[in-house]
Symmetry: C2
Subunit: 358 residues, 2 copies
């Protein structure tokens, strides 16, 4: 029977708790669907800094590269916040993305009927929101050179970064976005700042040039400042959004918060060929770490994305997705999504209920 290697990176804060629950779900659906999964658990982020002094040990990156897919919990925490850049947990995450060449970050933001009240938006604005942000993840200002510190001609200290995109980088992320839109409702909105930035002008040119290859997809363009407004005004207008690394960082977080339940949201980061990286979009929540309070559903749904996009095990993915919905329908809620009339449970119990549903 088929067999897959999965690298698990529990990371920091609530990471280990949510990963342990998701691991059980992966194990269960694999046995039902008749394939095998072997896990390798590796240190990453603050945990790796404490253990071996770097945020992404070579062994961890190598494990991720050799495996069929990687599931990450969360990284970071107050403890390492003041570290120098190369010793920050976040730097490890950027190195992992770069090392795996996962240039396409897919971040769905969906308002589930069961959780529409969790949104701070009015019910009629929030209900039915179902959008996907396709964020470029290994280019732009995050990685552009030159970068650093210097002094200008007046002797002033300066800090600088380079926003840069090459045509091929834009083309490959745009293709993923067109294909994503095609499988969804056929609408793609490309977000840029082409009225000001040259990097955005090239972005718009390349995206526009591809449109004729995807006649079934309706392409539109929006400036990033307007997109930040429209997500608040009427998020339902969006189906698929494609944008650069930094705008994607901002807009995907804004879109997540519009659902009101970021404890529910997964993400997938994919490359051209190699293994993908899957992680919940929430952070490491150090304030509730180790207290069995975390919501494991975002990591469960990330595991489902791993099965679908990473391993091509669509049926197993659907089992997890259906089980998460069923568990919500049966009234179970962790603290972050709890409201009157529902059963408040911890991370472990929520995990067990999802296993029952599976």
């Amino acid at each position: 029977s088929k067999s897959y290697n999965i690298t698990l990176l529990p990371g920091d804060g609530i990471g280990p708790e949510v990963i342990s629950v998701a691991k059980n779900a992966l194990q269960l659906v694999s046995s039902i669907e008749g394939f095998e999964v072997a896990f390798e658990e590796m240190p990453m982020g603050g945990a790796a800094l404490d253990a071996v002094g770097v945020p992404l040990p070579d062994e961890t990156l190598n494990s991720a590269k050799k495996s069929d897919a990687t599931l990450l919990g969360a990284i970071g925490g107050y403890k390492w916040d003041k570290n120098e850049k190369h010793l920050k947990p976040e730097t490890g995450l950027l190195q992992l993305r770069e090392g795996l060449q996962v240039f396409a970050n897919l971040r769905p933001a969906t308002v589930l009927p069961q959780l529409v009240d969790a949104s701070t938006l009015k019910k009629e604005v929030a209900e039915g929101v179902d959008l996907m942000v396709v964020r470029e993840l290994t280019g732009g200002i995050y990685f552009g050179k030159p970068r650093g510190f210097s002094t200008d001609k007046n002797g002033q200290e300066i800090g600088f970064n380079t926003e840069v995109y090459a045509a091929y980088e834009i083309e490959r992320i745009a293709r993923i976005a067109f294909e994503t839109a095609r499988k969804r409702r056929g609408k793609l909105c490309s977000v840029d700042k082409a009225n000001v930035l040259e990097a955005s002008m090239l972005w718009r040119k390349i995206v526009t040039a591809l449109a004729s290859e995807y006649p079934d997809v309706e392409l539109s363009h929006m400036y990033v400042d307007n997109a930040a407004m429209q997500l608040v005004r009427n998020p339902k207008q969006f189906d698929t959004i494609v944008t650069n690394n930094i705008f994607g960082d901002i807009l995907s977080d804004e879109a997540s918060m519009i659902t009101g339940s970021i404890g529910m949201l997964p993400s997938a980061s994919l490359g051209a060929a190699g293994p993908g990286l899957f992680e919940p979009i929430h952070g490491s929540a150090p304030d509730i770490a180790g207290q069995d309070k975390a919501n494991p559903l975002a990591t469960m749904l990330s595991a489902a994305m791993l099965l679908k996009y990473g391993l091509g095990e669509e049926k197993a993915a659907q089992r997890i997705e259906a089980a998460v919905l069923d568990t919500l329908n049966r009234g179970f809620r962790t603290g972050d999504i709890h409201s009157a009339g529902h059963k408040l449970v911890g991370c472990k119990e929520m995990g067990e209920e999802v296993l029952k549903s599976i």
Copy 2:
């Protein structure tokens, strides 16, 4: 008696309509408060492109430089959207900001009790929001060099921009922000991406170093992705926000939309010494231009900011602000903020009602 020169830049779309109404208000309050205003109306944006072929004629910039303050309506429209960069209305606006050296853009986002229903946020989340975004306006990636197009070593076309800040640029905007916070509720949140960008690391260092000079202001820091979320989750947590040019572009628009009434929101752009630039934050709305449908209140309130920050005529400013509130209390609404039980009026009539209230 005192006398001021004011440059009026009606611009495009609904710009001329809202400027004409605001001009009347400036005239009326000046006569009541006993000072004189002389207006010089100059072409700018698309109107200037059509008339003389550039988006910011020298005469227009010179008028703005020589005057005591400039009031701008709005610029841009479909007609000029495909123009090359140096022939875009937006480029004229950037040249005007640079020419006047107005590095500090103050953008209040206030939810008026009368208009709380206009927000897409739930009432309990929206009501009482009263924040100010202090955006750096003449630096960062908008103006940084090098910028442009080129080919990389693989022969790929690239587009690039430079995000760069010098210490003095950060210091001067931070001082404005600390002073703004001091006059408000004493809370300043500096927004950056210091976990990734060197330009943001310098930003955070300089802002932090100034804090000891403003012991009465409580300083915090937030990453831009988190700020985009927190504005949706709980906008009331913010008093004053200070951030760079591009993050300010995005976050101030998001904050405006949270109020639900961007037809109500003014802005002020100030330099170290020279005259300031005042404008509503809404766009030129070409679809309703010339139809007497525009909401002139944002421009009225921008005229009030002009009186207060530009001319130091605080009392005259308060007269306009009070009159705008009074007009809303008397039930008058333009289409963008209209709801059942209120009197729907056009731009002109709204202007006349504000004059009556004054």
